[in-house]
Symmetry: C2
Subunit: 499 residues, 2 copies
């Protein structure tokens, strides 16, 4: 129960399954972003509910009957999307309150993010109307709710892909890209909440809701600020052991923080404080779009990691060296194989021009799927090995690659059906301007990802994702075994000797 | 003049323009890597010189007359490529010495990298024959010379692309990928030397040669070890102010160093020592394949940077925040625009939903090329701004992007013809499993790169490349203005307070 808005977290579910939506502010000018663009996208996505365009000067919009105002509607819509000029928003909110419309998304910009007194006053006004009228508000200055299962997809990947990821974000653009990127790689989205300036409902409200939502296993967040940091902290501590939370925190530098003020009109907060937040909650910190999507791919698909020992299977001595450096640099270990493993590996790795061990350098692994599966089997049985990364080189003209049938289906099948397999990821290098290699590489990547086996376009990205994943599970293991200090309730970065 | 091998650096030029090549060890087994694979690639690449396959049991190979041994050849070949079993290499070297064949590439593996006494003895034997017979040897255990201008392209990008990059590398596989990656993006290679175990000629020999080669402007290196670190250090200090050197150093971690021992049979050296090396020589340190290629792209194409002030042009508030954080995190500054610039920017950036300043958030910049060129013009005239990065978003279904003609040709033309333009790079996000977006993005990236305007598939990669580039030029500026301490001759990491 939230004091200000008097809601339980399950009340927020209403944002994602409206049977009817009123869109207030549907300009018919083709060049303007706003209600009309949302309406068009709902139509494209095949949203099955009823849409009520509100436009005082039109009888219909896109062939859909329009209404002059909310009061004229034949029913109380489940959701109101407000896209009018900022100054007109409070009146619409009052109207919603009078009519009993409880779930509201304010798309309009022009509030606190302007940095003007007027803008900030207007934003406070939104918050106070919400409290007085018991309104549940997403926004202002945001894209609002997104839910592929209900075809509530006016933005984000269209068509959406249903799945088990929840997203809470203060940037519509970034969330758009995240939903597109992960959906295109086989990871579907249960719900996304783009909450912009978060004048009323804030990220903790949605975190609490997504924690309680059984359709969500994993939560991605993009935050610029939070009003009640203590509340977020307490919640995150509770949620993380059940559901991993991957947080892209914007405004970690002075310039970034200044930009936050122009974007969502808020204070980004102190970097040390956020570092302590990550340290003590176990929330996974990422710093770019790709790192965010990459970690989500790993968390969505991999079985639990039992330790930090990585087996590197690839080809090429230089790559073996560089890959080892990168893996160790990210906090993973590259242990020696067990004597039993070495007995199996030695006969299949030539003495000259290859390396039998960990990393393992064997060109044959690029073209011979059975050989690669043998090596995976070695890894899955070796007690020193907890995770595997495979360099899946696409044969190129100047490499000495005899023509062989595509080993990919056999490899995917082997991994998927292996009982007791360990977290296994692939790296596929197709960077550059070779269009054919690029198309092959991207398609191969998607094939692995769609099969639930994360594949990345570079070794360093794969390893960073695996390191995030491994740190999360190491923390869980320590928690379970009692090896971690309990979180200090009174801890702040200023009184803690460890920060 | 090198004491051991008695050569001047220009003698090494002979490796890259042989008019005739003897390939010793051309097995006709289709599955074996070796001399035959080199022969095939020379034929594919249209190598215009004479090839002499040496095979005691064949009258011809691939329709080319073969000879039973080097002594039977009708002339002294300019280059010998040795691909026989390791144990047979010393006898071939002696034969080369007797016949006056001076330039030799040993492809064969099975030397020091085996970690056996036999292997190490054999490698020392190679070095001592080289010294006795005044042979110039690349290798063993390497791919040898590569030169697109002379169609000496048995490996690497085929067909090769001539250009002004020199490469010195202890890994054939990595060099293969580097030549492919940069060539596909418009950056050609003058010469590449894959030197493997470097038993005789070592990286400093080739660095000295490439420094003196007027066809080379920029040098990329992959090193696992060096015998005479002092010599490399002194040379690098001399070369770097004239030609940037970008070094991927393998074996920076304990596991990486152990892998180096299995790859080129050498000692990777101490990490602190290498850090001091980078610090004092100005050599640019990179740690992955993509970071290496990305920096090369920047160094190859950009005009000098006059400072570290970056202007970020993009769209989306979240991206503006994250981009700022990443840029500042990599040591660049994101300064406020000058008052004159702000006067030009304010009228074209809407008050709500955008940000007028630096970073600049304007959706119109994605679709309106003229608008983007206006902003570039602002940047090129603003004294606070020294570099520009532009987010070139490819319109997607759910973004509100009106149909507009492709602005790319106009943008490229504007930048290329602008007198006094500043270093300008693009970031194009096409990551993920959307095949159409991927194809569009990769093609767009290539278009910019081919026009000499570096473009990268993520903001973080673009910024890291720009930061390397900027650090190099900052160092040059300080050097010129006398602001940098002279390198300390007696400096070692152990006596230096700064390391």
């Amino acid at each position: 129960m939230n004091g200000t808005n008097r809601h339980t977290s399950s009340d927020l579910a209403g944002f994602f399954k409206p049977r009817s939506i009123a869109i207030i502010g549907v300009s018919r000018s083709p060049s303007s972003f706003g209600g009309m663009s949302f309406l068009d996208h709902f139509l494209k996505a095949g949203y099955p509910g009823i849409i009520y365009p509100i436009n005082p000067r039109a009888a219909d919009v896109r062939g859909i009957r329009a209404y002059p105002d909310l009061a004229s509607l034949p029913e109380t819509p489940d959701l109101a999307m407000i896209a009018v000029q900022a100054g007109a928003v409070p009146a619409v909110l009052q109207e919603c309150g009078r009519l009993g419309i409880r779930h509201i998304h304010i798309l309009s910009a022009g509030f606190g993010e302007l940095g003007t007194n007027d803008g900030m006053t207007l934003e406070r006004r939104v918050a106070s109307i919400a409290a007085e009228q018991h309104l549940l508000i997403m926004g202002p200055n945001c894209m609002g709710p997104y839910c592929p299962a209900t075809k509530l997809t006016a933005w984000g990947a269209i068509p959406g892909r249903d799945g088990r990821l929840g997203i809470i974000s203060q940037s519509g653009g970034i969330t758009q890209r995240l939903t597109e990127q992960v959906s295109s790689l086989g990871v579907g989205v249960s719900k996304a909440a783009s909450i912009g300036n978060a004048a009323s409902l804030d990220s903790p409200d949605f975190l609490e809701y997504m924690d309680s939502d059984d359709d969500i296993d994993l939560i991605a967040m993009y935050l610029e600020s939070v009003r009640d940091g203590r509340h977020l902290f307490d919640l995150a501590r509770k949620v993380v052991p059940r559901k991993p939370v991957v947080l892209l925190k914007g405004g970690q530098t002075e310039v970034g923080a200044a930009t936050v003020a122009s974007h969502t009109g808020s204070m980004a907060g102190n970097r040390r404080l956020w570092n302590a937040f990550f340290e003590q909650t176990g929330v996974t910190p990422v710093s770019s779009m790709n790192e965010w999507a990459d970690a989500i791919l790993a968390f969505s698909s991999l079985p639990k990691a039992g330790g930090d020992g990585l087996f590197i299977i690839g080809g090429g001595g230089g790559n073996s060296v560089i890959f080892s450096d990168i893996a160790v640099g990210e906090g993973l270990t590259v242990p020696q194989l067990s004597p039993a493993s070495m007995e199996r590996v030695r006969p299949i790795v030539p003495v000259a021009g290859s390396i039998a061990g960990n990393p393992l350098d064997l060109w044959e692994s690029f073209v011979n799927g059975d050989r690669l599966c043998d090596l995976l089997d070695v890894a899955y049985r070796d007690p020193q090995i907890h995770m595997v990364i495979v360099d899946r080189l696409i044969p190129r003209i100047a490499f000495h690659s005899p023509e062989m049938p595509d080993p990919t289906p056999g490899i995917i099948d082997f991994i998927r059906t292996y009982k007791g397999r360990k977290p296994t990821v692939f790296t596929i290098d197709y960077d550059g301007g070779d269009m054919d290699l690029n198309a092959q590489g991207a398609a191969l990547r998607r094939r692995f990802c769609e099969a639930g086996i994360p594949a990345y376009p570079s070794f360093e990205r794969a390893i960073r994702a695996l390191a995030h994943f491994q740190r999360y599970h190491r923390r869980l293991r320590r928690r379970t075994s009692g090896g971690i200090r309990p979180f200090q309730r009174g801890h702040t970065p200023d009184n803690c000797k460890d920060c």
